[in-house]
Each structure stands twice: as C-alpha cells, then as structure tokens.
Amino acid sequence: MTLITVLITLLTLAAVTYLLSLVNSKLGAYFTIVTSLATIVMLFLIKDSIGQSYSLSFFTFKLTTVGWYFSMVMVTVYFTTAFLNPFWIKKMIYPAAYNLFFLVSLIGTIGMFFARDFITLFICWETVVWTSTFIIQMGKSRKSSYVYYVVSAIGSMVTLFAMMLVYQVSGTLEISTAFSALSGQPVLALIVFFTFILAGLSKIGIFPFHVWLPMAHGSAPHTFSPVLSGGLVKMGAFIAYLSVTAFAAYEVFANTFTIMGIPAPLYIIMVLGAISIVVGTVMAIRQDDAKKLLAYSSVANGGYILIGILLYDQIAFAGGMLHLISHALASATAFITIAIVAYRTGTTKMSELGGMIHRMPVTYTVYLIAIISMAGIPPMGGFVSKWLILQGLADRGLLFLAAAAFFGSIGSFMYVFRPLSAVFLGQLAPKYEKIKEANIMMQIPMYLLTIATLLVGVFPNVVLRVIADIQLEAGIQEIVLVGNTIVVSNGVLDALRVFIVFGYGFLIALVIFILRRKSRRVTLMDTYTSAEFIHTPELLHYSSNFYAPFERLTKKPYPVLNLYEKVSIKIKEIGHMAESLFSSSKPAITIFWIIIVFAIFFLGGVL
C-alpha cells in the first residue's frame, strides 16, 4: 500500500461520509470515526515503506519517520474526538459540511507531514486552514474564526514568500535540498529563517501570534476544540522541525553571533517560546471560561514544544517531541471532558458550574489524569517530557529559558487546578441535580486517551524509540534508552519505578479516604446568609474570582490583540483616505489628479 493509495482512499471515504451525511447526518458522524480509524490502520500498514517517495500530479510526498510520528499524534486526536461527533452533529448548522471538513482537515495534515516539496506543503497547509476556519464558524463566534484565519494567513503568506525566495536561489522546490543553496549567504538565510518559521509560530500560537488560540479554541464547536488544541497547533511544531533539520539552522548560522552557545536567530525564537510559556500561564490562570483556560495552557505548552525542538540535541529535542504527544493527549482529553460537561450542562463558564464529581465521576477522573499530565506531575506523560526539556535546558545552562519553563510548570498547577475545583469539586448547583454521567460512546475516547496518557507516562520508551529513529533520521545523537530507563547526562529516569512509588502513595491516600469520617454534603444554596434572600448566588460561588489576589498582581491591560485591532483600523483609515482621495466621484478631483500625475511624470522624465 502506497501513501498515494492511502490519501486517495481517505479522500474517497471523506466523500462517502459527506454523501451519507446529506442523507443522515448522524450516520455520517459515525462514519468520521470509521474513517479516522481506517487512517490509523493504514498508517501502520505503510510504516514499513518509510523512506520511499511518491508523486501525483504536482504533489510529491516522502514517507519519513517524523512525518509518520506527527501523523500518528494527529490521527489519534482526530479518532478519539470523532466519538463526540454523533452527539453534536444535530446542533451544527451545516452537519454534512462539518463531517466533510473534519476529515479533509485530517487528510490535509497527513499530506502536509509527508510533503516532499514546498508546494505540496503549502497546499496541504492552506487546506487545513480554510477547512478549520469554516468549522470554527459553526461555533459561537464569527470573529474568532476571522481572527484565526487572519493570523494563519499572516503566517502562511510570509512563509510562502520564504518558499519562493528559496526556490529562486536554489532552483528546486524540494524541501530537503532547496535550503542547502543558502549556506553561503548569511543575510538571505536570515530572511528565509525568520519568514519560513513564521507560519509555524502562528500555528503553534507563539507570542505574539497566540491571540487566535483562546478565541478559536474557546468558541469553536465543542467537538472541534480538542482537535484544534491537541492536533492542529502541532502543525506549527512540524515547521519548527523543518527549520532545524531541512533548513539546518545550526549549520547555517554556525558562524553568526551566538547567545549562550546558540545562534542568535534561534535564540530569539526560543525567547519568544519562553515568553509564550509565561504569557500563556499567566493568562490561563485568569480565565473563567474553562475552554479559554485550556487554550491559554496550549499557548504555554506550545512554548515548551518549540523550545525543545529548536534546541535540536539529544535530550531536549526528544523532550520536545515527547511533549508533542503528551500534550496532544492531555489537552484533547481535557477539552473532551469539558465538552461533555458542556453537553450535559450547556455552559463552559466555571463560575456557573461546580460539584460535577457527584454526577460525573468518570469524567472527573479522566480530567484529573489529563491535568496531572498537563501540569507535568508524575507518573503521567507530561512529566517525562517536561523533565527531559528541563534537563536539556539545564545541561546547556540556558538560565532564562529554564526559568520560564520552571515558571510555566509551577503556574500550570494553578491553572489546571482551577477547573478541577470549580467544575468538578465543590457544591453542585440545584439545577444540575438531575444531570447524568457521559454515555458509553462518549466514555470510549476518554478511556482510550487516559490509557494512552498513562502509557506514555509509565512506558515513555515506547514513544522515545520512535523519537530516537527521528533523531537518527535528522542526524543528531539519539537519546539513550536502556530497557525502561532514560539515560541523560545528569542522571537516569525510570518512569515505571516512579509510577510504582506514586502508586503506593495513591494506595495510602485511598486507605485514608475510605477510613475517614464521611463529610456532610452542603448544597450550593445552603450558604451562610442567615436566611436572607440571595439575588445572585453565582457571586457567592467560591469559584467566581478564584484567583483574585493573583489577578490583581497581573492586572496590566493586555496589549497584543489591541495591536491587531489597531493595524486593522489603520488599514481601514488608509482605505477610507484612498477612497475619498483617489476614487472620488467628483470629476473635478479626477481632473486634478490627472494634472498632478502629469506634473510628476514630467518632473520624473526631466530628472
């Protein structure tokens, strides 16, 4: 089975799904599960032919380990999220189009990860952008869809410039060979580097391109937010990967000014990653909407992935690549659980929720495991990857970046704890007394993702072996793996042992929990107002103004979105000026301009 067959099969399946959805949208939604499962199966079938190239019309592909790894991460997220589609599809304004775009965006990402030339890369990239733009609009905000498209377009257009520039210099569009022509031209290389990586930065949500994430993740249909956060932002990581491998930034900039042993251009991007970690963390803590909170946490985690990949060495690179999958799993899980809560309650605002643990214990547990991973607490996947990144940073003495990474790790405790306590713990509001646990169909993806998160956390070497292959393919030193142990220069990590230790701790806690005195349940309305009537019980809910002291600390106005708005207003102003000056409906003004043009031409001609 070749890659072309896979892609064509998938496109056919997407078309079939669309036609089925026209007849019965729910059936089509079930078919998205089937199709994404088929994708996983087919990806395993083509794994043996890694290294081969394929072409179809102007598309060319090459099967690579890294592409395979990225595709697997992506399709896992799509597959698990697809289980939610049947329950939401009736609420979509265009159900058939939703199913189609859902699958086409998946196919686009796979095509992009295996792209061999710039045009294929760009076409697949843009396909994903516009299909996801049209999906996001089916949510509750058109503006977020618009912002998402514009930020993506900034990235992709600037990157197209880089691609064409490289093509002009090297005469080839093939990614692996095209960049080699830049080696002798530092200025050109600098331009290409910054323009090429921009698409990646905008997609992964690096500061100052992160504005789209909270908007789009927050207001996309609940079934698409997991895909956006767990999957699509990882496309940006792929561009970052290309910029250190195909572009070979370390070799190209070897003779330039270095900061802490890292070429300055790369260091600048890494600093942006570090800023994203800080900004994402701080902003996540401040959110009241659970989905927006998770979106900002994606910004922070994108920073980790970017720094890890750009460090491009034995340890941190492996950490970045591992964080890719552990964050994809954790964030998809978290978004899915919030989606299920929203499905049952109709809101994602934390101050309106609370006490869901009494009604949805499975969802609670799954969310708990996801956030443990997201915060980087052992024994989950997020711990191993963050540990590797921090090891790598510490190893190279990158103080500032390490400080940001530590800040992000600690801050993540604060933001992941907030939905936990505000949504799941605490008192249950009377109106939610009757709600039910997620049904079996919705529980399947939660179990799958939780098992995967645990697997990555307990047996990270399964994934790290693939990453070692990627490192081999990229030509850097492979991460040392002995049995179940990861060996780095500062020590070793045996994730299984960590798991066992934590398991003991968990058992002890469980025993205490069972033996302790039963607590008395207090309802939300059973508060301390001495029989006085409360007009707005929500304000007394303990999760409103959850981190008030912290929010006062970070109360500075938040300028970046304003920047985009300002640019937009400026463009409109110039447009208005041009309209009234050069496109006036008064003939006299036209004549005036003709005279001016003549005068300029004459002067120009004489000069």
């Binding site: 019309s57 102007f58 060319t60 609420k91 304004i93 265009y94 030339d117 294929t120 076409i123 843009e126 396909t127 516009w130 609009q137 089916m138 949510g139 509750k140 905000s141 058109r142 869809s145 618009y146 498209y149 514009v150 377009a153 900034i154 257009m157 197209l160 410039f161 064409m164 520039l165 093509y167 002009q168 080839t172 093939e174 095209a178 249909p221 937009s568 463009i571 409109k572 110039i574 447009g575 041009a578 309209e579 050069f582 496109s583 006036s584 409906s585 008064k586 003939p587 003004i589 036209t590 004549i591 301009w593 003709i594 001016i596 043009v597 031409f601 004459f602 120009g604 001609g605 000069l607």
Partner: protein, 478 residues
Amino acid sequence: MNNPVLLIVIPLLLAFLSVIIKKAGKWLLLVGLLFNTALAFFITTGETIIGGFAPPYGINLVVDQFTLVGVILINTLMLITIVVSFDLVGKYSIVLLTALAGINGMLLTGDLFNLFVFMEITVIAAYILSAQAKKYHHTITYLVIGSVGSVLYLLGIILLYNLTGSLNMADVAAKLPLLTTKELLVPVLLIFIGIGVEVKLMPVSGWVKGVYSNANRLIAPLFASVIAGTALFVFGKLFVSVLPVSDTLTLLMLIMSVMTFVFGEFAAFNQKRVKNILLYSSIGQAGLVTALFISGLVYAAVILLISNVISKLIMFTIAGAFTEKYETDDYESLNGVFVHNKFTGIAFTIAALSMAGIPLLIGFYAKLNILIGFFQAQNYVLPAIILLMAIVEGAYIIKLLLALWAPGKEGQVSEKSFAVEKKQLLSVKNTIICLIVALVIIAGGVLIDITEKVVTDGQPLLGDQSPSFTISQSKGGE
C-alpha cells in the same frame, strides 16, 4: 468562414436588425452571442486586412494567441452573463449588441485609431447601460471622466502619429526604438491615462463606485468582468507589444499600478456592502494586472486576469441578486443568506476563495506564477507587497463569507433560525450555470498543465520571457 471580421460585423448587423424588429431584440442578441462565442473557438491566428489597403496605411485585424485568449474568454463571459440575466435584457439588446461589436473590435484591431473608435462604441454603450440604475448623477460622472479619458487617448495617438507617421500598431512598435524617452513621455502618458479610465487605475477610477454599486444582476458582471476584462487585454497588448517603454516611464507607471493595487485592497477592506467590496477588489486586482503587464510577466498577468474576471462574474451576479431580492447588499443585514441558498453559496465561496488565493483554485495558480516571475526577475519588493495584500484580501473575503454563511450574533451558536428570511436568490438554471463556472475555477487550478496549454498553446504570449509554474518543477530532484 472563420474570418475574425465577422466577430464585429455580425453583432453590428444584428443590432441594426433589432432596431427594425424590436420584439426579437432579445433573441437576436442571443443569436449574436452564440455566433460570436462559437466563431471565437474557430478563428485562427493571423492577420486580416480590411478595405483593401495594405497596412500600415490600411486597417487590419491581428489575431495572435493573446488576442485569441481574450476573444474566447470575453465572448464566453458575455454569453454567460446574458444567459444568466436574460430576463433583465429588455430594451437593452441593441446597446448590448453594439457593445459586443465594440468589445471584439477593441480586442482584434491592429490600428491605434481604430482602437479609439471601437473603444468609443463600447464606452458609449456602457454609458447607456450604466443609466439603467436611474442614478443619472453617476452616469454623468462616468460620462465626464470617460470622455476625458477618451480625449487624452486620442491626443496621445495624435502625438504618436506625429512622431512615427503611423497608426498601425506593428508599425509603431517597429519605429519606436528610434525615439527617445523624452519624446515618448507625453504620448505614452496620455495613452496610459486614457486607457487607465477603463482599466480603473486609481486616480481616474472615481466613476467606478457609483456605477458598479448600483448596477443590477445584468449590468454589474457585464462591467466588472466583460468590459473590465477587455480593457485589461487592450492594456496588455498596448504596453507589452506596442509601447514597450523603458526606465523612468516604466517605473512611474509601475508605481501608479501598485498604488492602485494597494489602495484598492485597503479600500475594499473598509467596505460594508458586498458590491463595494467587490468593486474595490476589482480596482485593486486591475492595478496588479497592469503592474504585471508593465513588468513583462505576461503569462502571469493573463492567468490573474482570467481568474479574476471569472470570479467577479459569479460574485457580481450573486451580489446583484442580493439587491434584487433583499433590496440591500450590506453583508451584515444579509447574515446567513446562504443558509437557504447553499448551491449559490458554494459557487460564491469558490469564486471568493480563488480571489483570496486558496490553493487548488485558479487564483492560487495565478499567484504562484506571479511570485515565481517576480523572484526570477530578482524583484523582492513586489512579491512582499503582493503577499501582504493577500492577507488583507483574505481577511475581507473571509469576513464576508462568514457573515453570509453563519447567521447569529457574536456569542451565539449559528442556527438556521437566525438567518435572514428565506428567498431564492437565483433560479435553478442560473445556479447551475454559476456552479459550472465555479467548476472551471477549480479545474483551472488543479489541471495546471492543461490550463497552460489552453492559454498559451505552447508559444509564449506576446514574446513573454517570464517563467511559469509547471508540474515538473515541484518534483525537483527527479
């Protein structure tokens, strides 16, 4: 039988006939268009002498691959426009037939003065058509600015005649190297501004807003794709093969074109009405096409021109239907209009996305050619401007599409019930036509080798030297 003269003569003859048989006017128009479109596919490249005097003294019609593409494209587009809006033709059949003759004349003629005559015929027909909206103020504006343009063009060719002693395009082109830039400055400039009025270059495009924004389903696409397309083809022919000027003049004309492009896109970004967005986008794109012609990227310019006029045909037709059915084309008051008209919406969306340069549509192929061409010429500034404008363009197009597809205020999940009241925008026949045209946009962008073969027929257009994107390029090392 395949004499290009027939493309001009038959519509004129039919126009006279329809004066006599008024009732059959509509059908005569259809016959003329069908005849012209069919004939356009059969005419061959070559020269046709009219009146028995050999050029440069007599008038000739010159058909080369560039003209052929123009003739086929423009006649087909006009046929589609008329078929779609056949119900609105009414008493305009004589005018439309005259315009058809004028347009074909403009495209075919090999004589500068003859071009003026045909341009006047077309433009006068256009004045009459613009009066259809009964906004006479705008028609007068158009009349004044258009007349100024015509006079300037006429002055230009008089000066050129004075300098070269000829009005035949090929002859003038041959004698041009003998003249200095200073001598050429005034005539070229006059011709540039004169043509610029119809091409819609920025300082002389004041008439566009009034005329386009009030035009109906018939007139709007006629102006935006048929007449504007013709003007651009004529511009290309004049400034690539007849008056290929150099240095200072090129630079100044390029600046004006690029300014038109940038300001047009910015102005489009500022608009609230669908037709206004489209018309400023047309102005912007026209600026880009002229910039490409002046820079010598003929193939890229032609592809962009084709993609643009096809897109505009669909979009202006549907925009015309908006005003017809909802009496507004403010996109915010048309929130969710495509909920009830999905197929119309799909055609509109494909056309819009092609304009925004989304891959696998012909607009993207055009953009790719432009970029490759400019980079090959070591020009890095224009590609940067074009890509930045692509962001602006994408922004207003997506905003428009989102408003038309997804009803509901901010913070509400889109629902069918939020959409504007249900009305059928286009009849079934017209929707199918729009979808077929949209299919051409997709096919043109996917089957790029066929597109190239159809457009160039294996030979470079007007001696084009610029490179184009081909399938083999992406395969690189193989």
